[in-house]
């Protein structure tokens, strides 16, 4: 997967977030403060603009640079809890890719591991706390497992996206222990976590971009 694939991923992630802006915001209205879709849409709009790069430096030249720029831009534009968390996730993933011109499955797996580690280090959420971790962690595991079993790219990427979607769906029955939803205590049960939902959307966009 080359730089073009990673650009395509981020661009279609931005499109998917924009398309689901109100849906994500309504999920957040139920157990949060009704801004998750708005926050991410604002951030990813800035990312797509930034991807064409500042006049001086030009567009990012490597997959790693694409993700690092994505992360930095999200930190600067999103705010809220998800801004720093997604920002750190993309920045850590970008760093993990280093200067590689093309990315193979194992390297992508390392990047996802690094992203997950960054989110958990910053946010201290564990699986079951009803956060984006509940989509990102199982997705990362499933991707690693598929690779270990010798799955082809599209198979591994489908496993990634499906595990993320299943993980997001699984947050419905959880009681939140982290983030705003935790203030609702038992009342947080029965609603899908908005950040887990957006993570599933972003990883589905990765599968589509990489298997196109």
């Amino acid at each position: 997967m080359d730089t073009a694939v990673f650009r395509a991923w981020i661009v279609s992630a931005a499109a998917v977030i924009e398309a689901n802006r109100d849906h994500l915001t309504q999920l957040d209205a139920a157990i949060g403060d009704a801004d998750h879709g708005v926050n991410l849409a604002r951030g990813f709009a800035a990312v797509t603009a930034a991807l064409d790069g500042p006049a001086e430096t030009g567009a990012p030249a490597t997959p790693g640079a694409v993700l690092t720029l994505t992360g930095s831009t999200l930190i600067s534009k999103v705010g809220g809890a998800s801004g720093p968390l997604y920002g750190v996730a993309f920045r850590r993933a970008g760093k993990a890719l280093g200067a590689a011109e093309t990315v193979d499955l194992p390297l992508l797996a390392d990047a996802l591991e690094a992203a997950l580690a960054g989110v958990q280090q910053l946010g201290a959420a564990r699986e079951g706390d009803k956060t984006m971790v509940d989509a990102l962690a199982p997705a990362t595991r499933a991707f690693g497992k598929a690779i270990a079993e010798g799955a082809p790219p599209d198979g591994a990427l489908s496993a990634l996206a499906e595990a993320a979607a299943a993980g997001a769906a699984g947050t419905v029955s959880m009681q939140a222990r982290k983030g705003r939803a935790s203030y609702l205590g038992p009342r947080s049960v029965g609603h899908e976590d908005p950040g887990a939902a957006s993570t599933a959307l972003i990883l589905a966009a990765l599968r589509d971009a990489a298997t196109r």
Partner: protein, 330 residues
């Protein structure tokens, strides 16, 4: 949704332009969304920076000025600001004595201020942070996001701001800020939801006989939904919850705060009930605030915040303050 705005996207910057026009004592960077005192940093004075989502006005921008904050960073409505804003503000108010970040305990505010503090540290600006977490509706625990920061933020900003104005060092200013937070507890009740400009829909639905108990300041539902009750009983619900956490005796600083859409007439009715509840339990309200100080847009409801005073805290509370929303002594 009917709001006095030009568009949901520009509401925060349009309001900041209004703040800039209305208050010559403030220097507002509308584009970067930072509200500063006019006249730049005071050499040798600890700088106080706070910030958080918009929609809680007058918090925080209305508390920028002599004797209180040096800068406020407003985010989008109910969305914490970004590290870039906080770094700009931190640089701008640093008079060489370091900067205190007053952070309400919400994951977003905490994480963004944390990233900003790291960036400031790269620039060798000494930063201390105090996390305000006074909301008794949420039980405190290592494994959760912990208690929310609500009304005590006003007390922390006023009292720490007064000590900073006197020239105390960063450690002392941070210490008094933490002391005020530890001595303060709050509880809030909503009679109606609110509508964020971006969402355009109420954050929850309540019928004409229901209220939300144990709310925060982001239009979120509370811990419980219950039947509407007379002011006297609502005061007891809030103060029973607070009294379970801190003693209500001795000299107290008490705020009866409106959530934004409740008439002052009703807030005074609530204050009467709060005062008689506390009086009956041997507490003495030495200082008070009644009004809209930390709001959730047009939400109807109230919150009560109680802080146990010491002679020193009372002295700092009484010290001169000159901000758009809190002013006395000059």
């Amino acid at each position: 949704m009917k709001k006095l705005i030009n568009s949901a996207d520009t509401v925060v910057t349009d309001a900041l332009a209004g703040v800039a026009a209305a208050h010559p004592g403030l220097a507002v960077d509308v584009e970067n969304k930072v509200i500063l005192r006019a006249g730049g940093p005071k050499a040798g004075k600890v700088g106080l920076v706070s910030g958080g989502g918009s929609g809680h006005e007058p918090l925080h921008g209305g508390f920028v000025g002599y004797g209180m904050l040096d800068a406020a960073c407003p985010g989008e409505v109910f969305t914490s600001p970004v590290p870039d804003q906080m770094l700009l503000a931190t640089r701008a108010v640093n008079g060489g004595a370091g900067v205190l970040h007053v952070v309400k305990n919400y994951t977003g505010d905490v994480l963004n201020f944390q990233l900003a503090a790291e960036l400031a540290d790269d620039e060798d600006i000494e930063v201390a942070s105090v996390i305000v977490n006074d909301d008794v509706a949420v039980e405190d625990s290592l494994y959760t996001a912990g208690r929310r920061g609500v009304g005590a933020t006003v007390f922390v900003e006023k009292i720490a701001g007064a000590l900073a104005e006197e020239g105390a060092d960063l450690a002392a200013v941070a210490a008094v800020a933490r002391e005020v937070n530890e001595r303060s507890r709050s509880f809030g009740v909503a009679l109606s939801p609110c509508i964020t400009p971006a969402a355009g829909k109420p954050t929850f639905e309540l019928d004409d006989s229901e209220i939300e108990l144990g709310i925060g300041i982001h239009g979120e539902p509370g811990r419980h939904r219950g039947p509407m009750r007379p002011a006297r009983e609502l005061a007891a619900v809030a103060l029973d919850a607070i009294a379970a956490d801190i003693p209500l005796d001795g000299d107290l600083l008490v705020m009866v705060n409106g959530m934004g859409g409740t008439p002052l007439l009703e807030l005074y009715v609530m204050y009467r009930e709060v005062a008689s509840y506390i009086g009956a339990r041997g507490g003495h309200i030495a200082r008070n605030l009644v009004g809209n100080y930390i709001t959730s847009l047009e939400m109807q409801g109230f919150s009560v915040t109680v802080c146990g005073l010491t002679a020193e805290l009372t002295r700092l509370w009484d010290a001169p303050v000159d901000t758009p929303a809190l002013r006395w002594g000059r």
